[in-house]
Amino acid sequence: MRHTLSVLVENKPGVLARVAGLFSGRGFNITSLTVGETEDATVSRMTIVVAGDDGILEQVSKQLNKLVDTIKVLDITGEAHVEHELVLIKVQAESGQRAEITQLAEIFRAKIVDVSEKSFILEITGSAEKVDAFIDLMRTFGIKELVRTGPVAMIREGKRKK
């Protein structure tokens, strides 16, 4: 099963290497990992998506907690939360297709951030579901390049279970 972990760590050199090393050293698989500063510049938040059964997830959480630089580990999979990622798509856009792509982009609230003679770069943010649906639609036009950040996540206010 897919789990989303929200991990607060000290914003210090080497922390990402410690986390990445923990996953590779213990044979856990990372689906995605994003990291950046929080409202407190001395703290970083990592959003880690991991696939595995409950036993593996328990070990992942415990091992992350065991790192001296880890402040807090939350498995937010079962919590009410917002989970968004950002995707850039370079899509084939010949003159006959531009209107249709623009329309689809509007429906999905994607932005056209670059226009060239034969292609657009589109930017879309949102849940994995929405983003995947949009990518599928764009395939019909021909995707030249694609990059996705992996999700970042945040628990909704007042919705924590425990």
């Binding site: 070990q59 001296v68 630089d69």
Partner: protein, 559 residues
């Protein structure tokens, strides 16, 4: 204290503040400022002959005394030579603070002379590590390093010190008490968990206490004994746990696992409740996991939450310091007996004692250990190397007190024993210290004979010489059709002459009737003595659970 002093001086002052009495260190280019400061410091510095020796010495010192061991090596090869010793300590949760020199900060990352990314290299084998980049950070980092190494589940912490920060100056600030927002080991047991555990134990018909090195690390031996006696449960120990419960106690059923006693392994398989304390269900203990203790509910006391339900699913976890948890648990329990269970256990104990052929014309390795125990008893501190001699020591030496044994359990590091014994001797001045080693293991760090001789450390080296890399040979005999590939090492070294070349005493014994007198002589002679015991070459360690088998399926006719 408002005077500016050098980073090297801050290093020395920080160690003094931590109560460090001895440092095992090897100098080098980037460590010149630190060794210059050490030259006039009131701190004993032991120079090993190889940095690996320094790491194992710090480890042995820690296991013997309970204090954190401290070692120091230069950048690059000095630092990488420590790696095996650091990994050894990490696997056995031994508190150590390891210092390495590093090239000056402007050179880091340039592939400078003697540069190695030692914090990168040791990240998976340290509890934590630091690269200090500012002279003002030296004092607080060393305080944190000692705090982390010695609290919670202990372990080695490495501090990498670039040369330029050891010559830079500042006014050091010592915080005294360390507070970290990201590190809070949980020491206090949860009262409800203790109640649950007590209820299960009260219902148990065939309880078993399975204890490991955590009991020794948390100084919980008295509590373990009190619990065992209160509930009349048999006690089995892991290799790391030996001495945590008296080896001569009538409730002790021996070590468990791959080379454990039949009684201990049968007790695991027959028990209905296992109380695991400071042990981590290592594969050498469990054998085939899905057949491990099939009828038992498991209570697991461990200070490291990640140890719980890692290998075996646990019914009642108690995340806490072993001493505090045992104290709490004892209060929750009423005295009881297990007469029926003891009827069965005593039958096994009588039927399956550890034994060997005592009428042999050659010296049996087990006989050497028994003789060493007869003479050394509970006074002698014993270190071992890794292999057959290690298992025979675990089986035949009755360790009656904690911190009596230093052995590389988790990593299984050949070459560990002799330097560990030297470190232990530094921590136990005037006390008898021996290392039981093999002709294979000893050759991995025999250069430390110089360290023992120069520092007048009277370690007795009991070398079981069988001419083989014995444990691998045993597996080749049993599982690879006796094809002794690269395990024959006989007649390659004259160990008596070797000892003499270093200025130590060398003795040799091959006649069983001379064994006792020879060991007696080794203890009588001053200074380090090597006893080259020529033993039965193809003796096997039995009983034995083949890798991957359930632990009740043991090989070995006699035992």
């Amino acid at each position: 204290m408002s005077q500016e002093i050098s980073g090297a001086q801050i290093f020395v002052d920080s160690l003094k503040r931590q109560g460090v009495e001895v440092l095992f260190g090897y100098p080098g280019g980037v460590l010149l400022p630190i060794f210059d400061a050490l030259f006039s410091a009131d701190l004993k510095v032991i120079l090993p002959r190889h940095e690996q020796g320094a790491a194992h010495m710090a480890d042995g010192y820690s296991r013997a005394t309970g204090k954190p061991g401290v070692c120091l090596a230069t950048s690059g090869p000095g630092a990488t030579n420590l790696v095996t010793g650091v990994a050894t300590a990490y696997m056995d949760s031994i508190p150590m603070v390891v210092f390495t020199g590093q090239v000056a900060t402007p050179l880091i990352g340039n592939d400078a002379f003697q540069e190695a990314d030692i914090t990168g290299i040791t990240r998976p084998i340290t509890k934590h590590n630091y690269l200090v980049k500012n002279v003002a950070d030296i004092a607080p980092t060393i305080e944190e390093a000692f705090y982390i190494a010695t609290t919670g589940r202990p372990g080695p912490v490495l501090v990498d010190l670039p040369k330029d920060i050891t010559t830079a100056k500042c006014v050091p600030v010592y915080r005294g008490k360390v507070e970290m927002r990201s590190y809070h080991p949980n020491m206090e047991p949860h009262a409800n968990q203790l109640k649950k555990a007590a209820a299960i134990i009260a219902e148990a018909k065939r309880p078993l206490i399975y204890a490991g090195g955590g009991v020794i690390l948390s100084n919980a031996s008295e509590e373990l004994k009190a619990l065992a006696e209160k509930i009349n449960a048999p006690v089995t120990l892991t290799l790391m746990g030996l001495g945590a419960f008296p080896g001569t106690h009538k409730q002790f059923v021996g070590m468990l696992g791959m080379h454990g006693t039949r009684t201990a392994n049968y007790a695991v398989q027959g028990s209905d409740v296992i109380i695991a304390v400071g042990a981590r269900f290592d594969d050498r203990v469990t054998g085939r996991v899905d057949h491990f203790a099939p009828e038992a509910k498991i209570i697991h006391i461990d200070v490291d939450p990640a140890s719980i339900s890692k290998i075996v699913s646990v019914d009642v976890p108690v995340v806490a310091d072993a001493k505090l948890a045992l104290q709490g648990l004892i209060k929750e329990l009423k005295p009881r007996t297990c007469d029926e269970w003891w009827g069965q256990l005593n039958e096994w104990l009588q039927k399956y004692p550890l034994t060997y052929d005592r009428k042999s014309a050659k010296i049996k390795p087990q006989a050497v250990i028994e003789e060493l125990y007869r003479q050394g008893g509970s006074d002698l501190f014993v270190a071992t190397d890794v292999g057959q001699h290690q298992m025979w020591t675990a089986q035949f030496y009755k360790f009656d007190r904690p911190r009596q044994l230093a052995t590389s359990g988790g990593l299984g590091t050949m070459g560990y024993g002799f330097p560990a014994a030297i470190g232990a001797q530094m921590g136990l001045p005037g006390k008898p210290v021996a290392v039981v080693t093999g002709d294979g293991s000893f050759q991995m760090n025999m250069q430390e004979l110089a360290t023992a001789v120069v520092n007048k450390l009277p370690v007795k080296i009991i070398l079981l010489n069988n001419g083989f890399l014995g444990m691998v040979r045993q597996w080749q005999e049993l599982f690879h059709g006796k094809r002794y590939s690269s395990t024959i090492i006989k007649d390659s070294v004259d160990f008596v002459k070797l000892a003499e070349a270093f200025g130590a005493t060398g003795l040799r014994v091959s006649d069983p009737t001379q064994l006792s007198a020879t060991i007696k002589k080794a203890f009588a002679v001053e200074g380090p003595v090597l006893v080259d015991c020529i033993v039965e070459p193809e003796e096997n360690v039995f009983p034995m659970v083949p890798a991957g088998a359930p632990i009740h399926e043991m090989l070995g006719e006699l035992a």
